[in-house]
């Protein structure tokens, strides 16, 4: 936990960067590779998402509550990693990942579907009863998402801005534990958002380093800090597949401790687009 102090001194450094002159745009040529690599990353995750969603929804349709509960969090990981792209399709983002708060009538709202509707059934009602239509709908939506993303030309600024967007997502809904309020698997999503943000950062790191080496070092350090705290909550540190303990087990003090580096990352990554000269 010693490196955790880094992000404090770091925020003062970030301020100095404010005086940086207008950035010379990174040559367009240099952006092509990382953006292409990112799409391949997204496609890989989508392939996993489709496969896991199939297994998850089949478990529901077969009425296998234990299996469905066990598959809920690991399936979502692949969606949460690619959220900057997935949420470009507003209709699917709503039908796949909206929370009950997004609807006037909450859990009773007929439009409330997707992962969180299934979460409500599996973890709150503790039953697969009546969930089959939602499972079928989720599978269709995920297949649809897969098709749409395959044909999508990724807008460069969405890709680069995605790193900050993911950290904003963490800061807004993961730390508070709103995301997975019934399954309490928030840390899975937390880690997945961090994974997704870090992937983008890693792809553009060489370019960012040319513009501001200190920035890269700082962000790297903060990612390390967040992952170090998250690692403390793994069920089995040797086996990442086993995932995380319930968010209920995370103390208030640790929730606040996570907030620190997350906010610094959100603040720092919000400058990544500007650093690379993207609008």
């Amino acid at each position: 936990m010693q490196p955790l102090s880094r992000w404090i001194s770091v925020s003062a450094l970030a301020l100095m960067a404010l005086n940086a002159p207008a950035q010379a745009a990174v040559p367009a040529d240099a952006l092509v590779g990382p953006i292409a690599e990112y799409k391949l990353y997204v496609l890989d995750n989508l392939e996993q998402l489709v496969a896991h969603t199939r297994e998850f929804t089949q478990a529901i349709e077969q009425g296998n509550l234990d299996k469905a509960q066990a598959l809920y969090a690991p399936t979502r990981v692949y969606y949460e990693r690619i959220e900057p792209i997935a949420e470009m399709f507003a209709d699917l983002d709503a039908s796949i990942d909206a929370r009950e708060d997004d609807y006037e009538h909450g859990v009773k709202d007929p439009d409330f579907t997707g992962f969180h509707r299934l979460e409500y059934g599996l973890f709150k009602a503790q039953s697969t009863q009546g969930l089959a239509p939602y499972a079928k709908g989720l599978m269709q939506d995920v297949d649809d998402l897969d098709q749409r993303v395959q044909g999508l030309t990724f807008p460069p600024s969405t890709v680069v801005g995605g790193a900050a967007a993911l950290m904003e997502e963490v800061a807004a809904t993961k730390v508070s534990g709103e995301e997975d309020r019934y399954s309490r698997s928030d840390l899975w999503d937390f880690q997945a958002n961090v994974d997704g943000a870090k992937e983008i950062f890693e792809l553009f790191k060489p370019l960012a380093a040319e513009e501001d080496a200190g920035f890269v070092k700082r962000v790297q350090g903060n990612f390390d800090d967040v992952e170090a705290i998250l690692a403390d909550y793994r069920v089995d540190p040797q086996d990442p597949k086993k995932g995380f303990v319930s968010y209920d087990k995370v103390s208030d003090a640790d929730r606040r401790a996570l907030t620190g580096p997350v906010n610094v990352l959100a603040e720092d990554l919000s400058t990544l687009r500007g650093l690379l000269g993207l609008n």
Binding site: M1, L4, S5, W7, I8, S9, V10, S11, A12, L15, L18, N19, A20, P21, A22, Q23, N222, R256, A257, T259, G260, P261, N263, V264, A266, E267, S270, T271, R273, G274, L275, G277, L278, N279
Partner: protein, 450 residues
């Protein structure tokens, strides 16, 4: 620290005089010469403030007392940042105020030190105003922009205070904890909501307009990611009183319709402030705390619908004052000292009237006097359809026990309790001021525990 504000009127009328006229005297003077209004036109946008500046008495006289109703919206009004005490205590109460409580996320002393230095730098800039550095538009802007390209000081004061929880084992501050700083305990009438209580660090942010306060808060949040996490916040305001002769010299009214702050000790009386408000070397406090002060914060919900259905006579008996004039029930005008000596049985001013309990006006209770600096708040609607309104009560004192805690204990069980419900707040210790450019808020504390 001096609370004489500077203003950027190019005509340089902001010199103040040592002459201490009372406010009414000053106003008569200004009205008699007519000079003030004539010159006011030379500084556009400062019409309300300028007459004061034109008068030899010095323009700060018009709002000499902390709780006097604010008169000015002068955007160029700037209170000096550096000095032995922080701003926002003896500073005339601005029209808008906000109390923001934070958890400190810094993990070690180095992080805390950086935080305190950052706060000092930001507050020094924000309270004096100026422009932010330009930035390439492809970056997030350095500033929220809600005040436009140039930040006016707008009477902003930001006061930094520490909660008892910061003196736990995280930063090694425990040995240097101010003697009376403790976690606020609930009083009998309290219904404290944990989400609106306590905190490691509190900022009292006040300005002419709420926008300026919000701007300052957002600037500070943007500059302290990873070190500060907002725990709760409550904003409020006091009505800006137009300088109409008939109603000029009253304290501002709270949401119960009564003038609030009448018997405040005079901020103009330096000796009194040193005695009642500022920690001085004679007190049994750590050396670093000298120049600081205790701040008690209470979020006090008012049941205004019920209050409005209460007979006027009963309201006045509950407070011990006439509602419209603010005068004590014993007669006179607002500023007159109520006469309790000739009313030992409380026939005129009930013994349990709010002002009689809070300040019995006896020599032995003089040391319990506190400097109040409250704001009215309105938060929306309760589930039952009633308005969520009340008082963001803030007060300062050199000794928390002798000050707020003693006063509140006297008030416990008062008839007013039927109409109010404290729901949040906390105790904090206001750091001594940053004396100059080299100093920073909390330097003494950090050095004392190094």
């Amino acid at each position: 620290m001096s609370d004489q504000p500077s203003s950027r009127c190019p005509f340089g009328f902001s010199t103040h005089s040592d002459t201490r006229l009372d406010r009414r005297g000053f106003l008569r003077g200004a009205g008699a010469t007519g000079l003030g209004l004539g010159l006011a036109g030379l500084c556009p946008g400062q019409a309300l403030a300028e007459p004061a500046k034109a008068d030899a008495a010095g323009h700060t006289q018009r709002s000499a007392e902390v709780t006097s109703a604010p008169l000015t919206q002068d955007p160029e009004l700037a209170y000096p940042f550096h000095g032995p005490h922080q701003q926002g205590i003896t500073t005339p109460r601005q029209a808008s105020g906000m109390l923001v409580s934070f958890d400190v996320l810094a993990r070690d002393r180095e992080g805390l030190d950086t935080l305190l230095r950052t706060l000092t730098t930001r507050i020094a800039f924000l309270t004096q105003g100026g422009a932010y550095p330009q930035r390439d538009p492809r970056f997030p802007p350095p500033d929220s922009g809600i005040l436009g390209p140039r930040i006016p000081p707008d009477g902003l004061s930001v006061t930094v205070a520490l909660g008892a929880s910061l003196f736990d084992d995280r930063f090694g501050l425990a040995p240097a904890r101010p003697r009376h700083l403790e976690r606020m305990q609930g009083f009998p009438n309290d219904a404290l909501d944990a989400a609106r209580c306590h905190g490691d660090l509190a900022l009292q942010i006040c300005a002419n307009t709420l926008d300026t306060a919000y701007h300052a808060l957002r600037d500070i949040i943007k500059h302290t990611p990873g070190s500060l996490l907002v725990r709760w916040k409550q904003e409020g305001n006091v009505p800006l009183l137009p300088p109409s002769p008939g109603d000029i010299d009253g304290s501002a009214r709270n949401f119960l319709g009564f003038r609030d702050g009448t018997a405040n000790p005079s901020a103009q009386d330096k000796a009194l402030m040193d005695e009642l408000i500022w920690v001085d070397p004679q007190r049994d406090e750590p050396d670093w705390a000298v120049g600081g002060s205790y701040m008690a914060v209470r979020i006090i919900r008012n049941y205004v619908e019920r209050w409005d259905r209460t007979p006027l006579g009963e309201q006045e008996a509950i407070f011990g004052r006439e509602k419209m004039s603010g005068a004590p029930l014993s007669g006179g005008v607002e500023q007159d000292v109520p006469d309790y000596a000739s009313d030992p049985e409380g026939k005129i001013t009930p013994l349990d009237a709010h002002i009689r309990l809070a300040n019995p006006r006896t020599p032995e209770t003089e040391k319990n006097r506190i400097l109040r600096r409250p704001f009215n708040y309105s938060n929306g609607v309760e589930p039952n359809g009633q308005l969520d309104m009340g008082l963001l009560f803030i007060c300062f004192q050199a000794d928390l026990q002798e000050g707020f805690i003693t006063v509140q204990k006297r008030l416990d069980g008062e008839p007013l309790e039927e109409y109010i419900k404290p729901v949040g707040g906390g105790y904090f210790f206001v750091l001594p001021g940053a004396r100059d450019e080299q100093d920073y808020l909390g330097r003494g504390l950090m050095a004392a525990t190094a």
